[in-house]
């Protein structure tokens, strides 16, 4: 990230560099979001864990847009492009179904096999980006090579890192085939989920507005799936919500995931899905770092497994580097403008304003004034986290405090760099 930051000029940070910073920051936060959920070890159903986490996501989702822009701005943005509300709900539903499929995949084939399979979502996104939004159209052979090889390298690295966590005792379930199908299904869902993301940003919508509607689809679908597939109102999800001490960690995981996802949304806006998804998929590296360094998950790993970690990490970094340096040419940008024109013609949007918005410029003097209910939303969300936080109980798990400090510092620094870059270049637009 440092080399990218060096490339900044005064308010002249390129949109490509901004997208790369957002993609890498997304990876750091999405990877770290797995850590708090490790503290919930009691035998709750995966649906229950997922629902509590999404409840935390929902709470946090409304906080950031309200804090940064105010609900007046967000709802005006949504109303000006009402068709995108449907797209956002669809994306939220895709996320929820994918997340539930991963539960089945983990149950049947284990995380080490399932994770690399669903991480192939970046390749699905690459295909949709090319077919639907003209991404990489007009790009030089060198740039196409960098993006495709980089995306494939990150998937290969995910396989290596996944197998590094596979120990002898990890057995394939008797439903291995259904587990693999579930993981591939999750990959297809998540890869396709970026279609609505990109659609919204080609129409000039602010990512903060999009996620506000997205999260309604997300929570509604997870709730419906829990009721339909996890015992209805008898689901352990509803009991878990009453368990003192456990819920906070799931909410915290959801909160961190929201920060990561927001940066992922901005990466999708400024890089497109072909480049944005692989960069945020570097989250596996950070998830592994938390697992191995803080929770000692590789303490008993042999030399071969450690070698897989080193090889996987190097391949992933090289893949991210390849994509980061594939700056879109003028010809490729003109193809993107064609995709914007298609959206403007179909949905009656102002082309020039939309192009300006794509470049991170505000296209109207829309009010960002905060109303009393904005402060009420912020206070309520903060109150929920504080209320859960003071009841939180740290389970007796062995954790390395020094590595928590180091990785926590990485989180803070990445957040500071990402936030500052977005603010300076686009004012979070």
């Amino acid at each position: 990230m440092g080399s990218v930051v060096k490339g900044m000029e005064k308010k002249g940070l390129s949109l490509h560099a901004l997208g790369v910073i957002c993609g890498l920051t997304a990876g750091v936060w999405l990877g770290a979001a797995e850590a708090p959920t490790k503290l919930v070890t009691a035998g709750y159903s995966p649906f229950a864990i997922s629902l509590c986490m999404v409840a935390g996501v929902f709470t946090a989702r409304w906080t950031f847009p309200t804090l940064l822009k105010g609900t007046g701005y967000v709802f005006t943005d949504l109303w000006e492009r009402k068709h995108l509300i449907v797209w956002a709900l669809l994306a939220g539903a895709l996320w929820a179904v994918a997340n539930t499929l991963t539960v089945f995949a983990i149950r049947d084939v284990g995380l080490a096999v399932a994770f690399p399979l669903w991480n192939m979502n970046s390749l699905i996104g690459l295909i949709w980006g090319r077919v639907l939004f003209c991404e990489l159209k007009g790009a030089s052979a060198k740039n196409i090579g960098k993006v495709v090889v980089g995306a494939v390298a990150i998937v290969v690295a995910a396989v290596l890192l996944g197998f590094s966590t596979l120990h002898g005792g990890t057995a394939m379930g008797s439903h291995a085939l259904s587990g693999i199908i579930a993981a591939i299904g999750a990959s297809l869902m998540w890869g396709t989920m970026y279609v609505p993301y990109r659609k919204a940003y080609l129409s000039g919508m602010n990512p903060l507005s999009f996620v506000t509607a997205f999260t309604v689809g997300e929570l509604g679908t997870v709730l419906a799936l829990t009721l339909a597939l996890d015992g209805g109102t008898h689901s352990s999800a509803f009991q878990l919500l009453h368990v003192r001490g456990a819920v906070f960690w799931l909410f915290l995981g959801g909160f961190m995931w929201v920060i990561g996802d927001l940066f992922q949304q901005f990466a999708t806006k400024y890089l497109g899905i072909g480049r944005g998804i692989p960069l945020s998929n570097t989250n596996q590296l950070w998830g592994l770092a938390w697992g191995a360094l803080v929770f000692g998950e590789l303490a008993s790993a042999d030399r071969a497994h450690k070698l897989l970690v080193v090889a996987g990490s190097i391949v992933m970094i090289l893949g991210a580097l390849a994509i980061s340096t594939a700056v879109a040419s003028a010809r490729e940008e003109s193809s993107t403008n064609e995709a914007v024109l298609r959206e403007c013609n179909r949905y009656g949007l102002d082309y020039n304003a939309t192009i300006a918005s794509m470049g991170g410029d505000e296209f109207s003097d829309r009010s960002q004034r905060k109303r009393w209910w904005d402060y009420a939303i912020l206070a309520a969300a903060t109150g929920v986290f504080l209320w859960l936080g003071i009841r939180a109980v740290v389970p007796p798990l062995q954790m390395d405090g020094r590595w928590i400090a180091v990785l926590g510092l990485v989180l803070v620094v990445s957040l500071a760099v990402g936030t500052w870059s977005l603010w300076r270049r686009t004012r979070f637009s």
């Binding site: 797209w87 669809l90 895709l94 179904v97 089945f104 949709w128 639907l132 396709t192």
Partner: protein
Amino acid sequence: MGLSREARKIVGDSHFWVPFFVLLLGIALLVALS
């Protein structure tokens, strides 16, 4: 009215059917697996 016009634009957009059918496929997969 305005909303039905928006709805027609959405269903007339070939892009819409890609995530829509993928979502249906995912739900069918979930039902089959559970």
